[in-house]
Amino acid sequence: MTEYLETTVDKFIFKVATDRLFTPEGLWVKNEDSLVRIGVTDFFQQRNGDIAFVNLQPVGKMLELNDEVASIETIKVNLSLSSPVTGKILNINQKAVTKPEIVNQDPYGEGWLCELSVNNWAEESKKLLTPEQYFIKMKKDAEEEVKKNE
């Protein structure tokens, strides 16, 4: 059962799953038996709004660190998501493509994006943020966003 760090900023509640690592941009990365699953954070999906389209790289594609792993179009913006790891795409979540709202509804669960086999996890994972580190960054970003809109 996934546990969460949680904070309320203005009228918004943001959750950070504690069983994975994060990029500063708002991707989460979960390593299970050398298979790395990637998705977007709760803060990412709330900040960027309802997702209209999700485009994922095809199964079998080799990705270098920072290559585009997915692109997302929301009602507000078009976003290119950089891969936080080097690896080969083994699975993609077709449900995220056909029903993109699942990414908004369940970003840490059913709304995952893709799974990669990785071979440099030990090194690359050191560059990712812990849940606590991401939580602090997210809270700061959320508070700045609220101030900006006041």
Binding site: G49, D50, A52, F53, I75, E101, N104
Partner: protein
């Protein structure tokens, strides 16, 4: 024709979002241009304020809700008031079928937004027929 005489059109009342503006423009297309005799425009804000006449309208006829986002305030409010929902639509779902029509602008929508509103109004037109039990033959007569 069914016993239902009119259908309520209930658009999003959110201000400041293009998708909400699309829902309101579509509602105007439907209630003022396409189907004025078959529809009643219901302002969501009056329902929220508890306006009795508006509440009675919602209770008297089925509603088609047009929400700008997935929070679906219009749908929720009709439910809260005890109204019957004939169909709940979200602009984003219509946009997914018309990816070339990305709306922009708020007070004044861009051309794509206006076309998206037209597409949404066309979807609603068919739902109105189904709700009122109007056949194609009757409509073309």
């Amino acid at each position: 024709m069914s016993e239902t005489e009119k259908v309520n059109i209930v658009p999003c009342s959110g201000i400041g979002k293009s998708f909400g503006s699309v829902s309101r423009l579509a509602a105007y297309y439907i209630t003022e241009d396409d189907r004025p005799a078959d529809t009643t425009l219901v302002p969501l804000a009056l329902l929220v304020l508890g306006d009795k006449d508006t509440n009675n309208t919602v209770l008297s006829n089925p509603s088609i809700t047009l929400d700008g986002c997935k929070l679906q305030c219009a749908k929720k409010m009709i439910g809260e008031c005890g109204g019957q929902i004939a169909q709940d639509l979200v602009v984003l779902d219509v946009y997914r079928d018309h990816r070339d029509l990305k709306p922009a602008g708020i007070a004044v929508l861009n051309e794509a937004g206006e076309k998206l509103a037209r597409a949404l109004a066309d979807v609603v037109d068919l739902i109105i027929d189904q709700t009122l039990g109007i056949t194609r033959e009757e409509k073309n007569a």
